[in-house]
């Protein structure tokens, strides 16, 4: 997800309070909505993204950093962090997420460098190999996110088509 967990929960609560509650006069439905808001407030206090997929992404990034370091030996390249970057299995999700985002920025710098003029002049074969392995690693990372992405509901979201949502 590109949205942070806490912001997402806040947004859901606000959507229910702003758009659903004022437009529904049925006491039972309103009771259901307020119960959902209460439960969401609880989730906001007690829950976070699952750390597993985030950890998997950080590990993939670490493997990519190690491989780039090996390939780029002797070349003048952007910083590559020491790996593994995370030692504890029980780190908080927010910490792992920050590490993942930081890793994305470092991978981006390396990718821009490897596909740029400087690296290609210095060692074209190594630069090509680094670009290839970085693209593959980043795509593998995206696959992990795709595995935690629900099926698209674009039709229902764009058109508010409730029947399609049930079907």
């Amino acid at each position: 997800m590109s949205a942070s967990f806490e912001r997402l929960i806040e947004g859901i609560i606000d959507a229910l309070q702003t758009h659903i509650v004022p437009n529904n006069g049925d006491d039972f439905v309103r009771g259901q909505v307020f119960s959902a808001i209460y439960a969401l407030n609880g989730l906001k206090l007690a829950a976070d993204w699952k750390p597993g997929p985030l950890l998997d992404q950080v590990r993939l990034q670490d493997d990519a950093f190690a491989a780039v370091r090996q390939q780029a030996n002797g070349m003048d390249h952007p910083p590559i962090p020491a790996t593994p970057r995370i030692a504890r299995e029980n780190a908080e999700a927010a910490q792992i997420e920050a590490l993942r985002d930081d890793g994305d920025r470092l991978l981006g710098q390396l990718l821009l460098w490897a596909s740029g003029e400087g690296a290609r002049t210095a060692d074209p074969d190594a630069a090509n190999e680094i670009e290839r392995l970085l693209r593959r690693a980043i795509c593998d990372q995206l696959k992990i996110e795709l595995a935690t992405t629900p099926k698209s509901m674009l039709q229902q979201i764009a058109g508010g088509d409730g029947d399609a949502a049930r079907g």
């Binding site: 590109s2 942070s4 959507a15 981006g108 821009l112 596909s115 970085l134 795709l146 674009l154 764009a158």
Partner: protein, 357 residues
């Protein structure tokens, strides 16, 4: 869009305090202001009846209404308003107005323009009014209920109209004023998207950063610079009795490479995830029919480039929505949900770049 919709300064901005943007477009207020506007501009009493919001889009807001004049004659009209809190605000009404003016009476069917106000007049936001066109707007996201024969008839018209649009000499029309960015306006447009993606958001996508640079460095020369609709796809027209009677949503129109429209129309997202246009016309046939209609030879390399660019734009638009939700605290859950589409779009973009390189 590139000229009007993207704030191109690209400078990092401080994260604002977590406040919700006000819902500034109040439908009742718009209705009242519209009545005052029509009364002033028509010089007589105009009653508005059946006023209703037609869409809850992310960008321009569309209303349908009937204007009843003093002699009791009715006109069915459409009002489109550019809201100050829309995804790409601040808005200019001029691209749509120029398009409707330029294409009136041409082989590209458009709704007739009635009036417009860039400064908002009584309504307060840029708007235009055009004639209501009777018919249906097909949904691009899901498999159509229409039969294959019906869809094929529409798809062929859709391509013919695109060809006609690209045949028009834009230099002789009001759209010529949209020319921005000099000779390489296409490159300027990519730069604007890159600047948009460089703004602080919750996520940085390395493939978008790298791919954006590649697009900017490898943008092909257009075979000729034509009017580009900018959002030419299934779902942006009205059909009536198996005829396309109006092409809609000209807010992104600009002058550029005609391959851009063709690539956008072919995106599976707009064809119920099919690689065939409207799920019925194969890619090779699309190209053949388009070439015949437009007189423009399609370059496989340019088409591949613009297919990658289409995904890049789609990703940038999604990130605008994510930013609006996450950074600007704009509370519309549809924008938050758009974030979940990013992994699949970025992966598709990477594959498209591979094909274009």
């Amino acid at each position: 869009m590139q000229d009007t919709a993207i704030r191109s300064d690209g400078l990092p901005r401080p994260v604002p305090a977590p406040v919700r943007r006000p819902d500034v477009v109040n439908d009742d207020a718009v209705r009242g202001a519209l009545a005052r506007y029509l009364a002033r501009t028509s010089g007589g009493g105009v009653e508005i009846i059946s006023f209703s919001r037609k869409s809850s889009g992310f960008s321009w807001i569309t209303y349908g209404f009937i204007a009843r004049s003093a002699d009791r004659s009715d006109r069915k009209l459409i009002l489109r308003v550019g809201p100050p809190n829309g995804l790409f605000a601040p808005y200019s009404v001029l691209p749509q107005v120029h398009a409707l003016q330029s294409l009136a009476g041409s082989n590209v069917p458009v709704p007739a323009l009635v009036s417009f106000e860039q400064d908002g007049a009584e309504i307060g936001f840029p708007f235009f009014i055009c004639v209501h066109v009777e018919g249906d707007v097909p949904a691009p996201w899901a498999a159509s209920q229409l039969g294959e024969d019906h869809r094929r008839v529409i798809a062929l018209q859709f391509l013919n109209i695109l060809g006609e649009l690209h045949r028009i000499d834009a230099r002789t029309t009001p759209l010529a004023s949209l020319q921005g960015g000099g000779e390489r306006a296409e490159v300027s447009a990519i730069a604007a998207w890159r600047a948009s993606l460089a703004r602080p958001t919750a996520r940085y996508y390395p493939l978008l950063d790298w791919g954006g640079r590649w697009l900017q460095e490898n943008c092909p020369q257009p075979p000729r610079r034509t009017i580009v609709h900018g959002d030419y796809r299934i779902g942006n027209f009205i059909e009536h009795d198996k005829n396309i009677v109006a092409i809609l949503d000209w807010e992104l129109t600009h002058l550029g490479d005609p391959h851009e429209d063709l690539a956008w129309a072919l995106m599976p997202t707009f064809n119920a995830r099919s690689k065939k246009l409207y799920g019925v016309v194969e890619r090779a046939e699309v190209i053949e029919l388009y070439q015949r209609a437009s007189g423009i030879p399609v370059s496989a390399k340019s088409l591949a480039f613009y297919e990658a660019y289409a995904l890049y734009q789609a990703a940038a638009i999604q990130m605008c929505a994510v930013r609006a939700f996450e950074v600007d605290r704009f509370n519309d859950m549809r924008m938050a949900v758009m974030a979940s589409q990013m992994p699949s779009i970025v992966r598709a973009f990477e594959r498209a770049l591979e094909a274009a390189a």
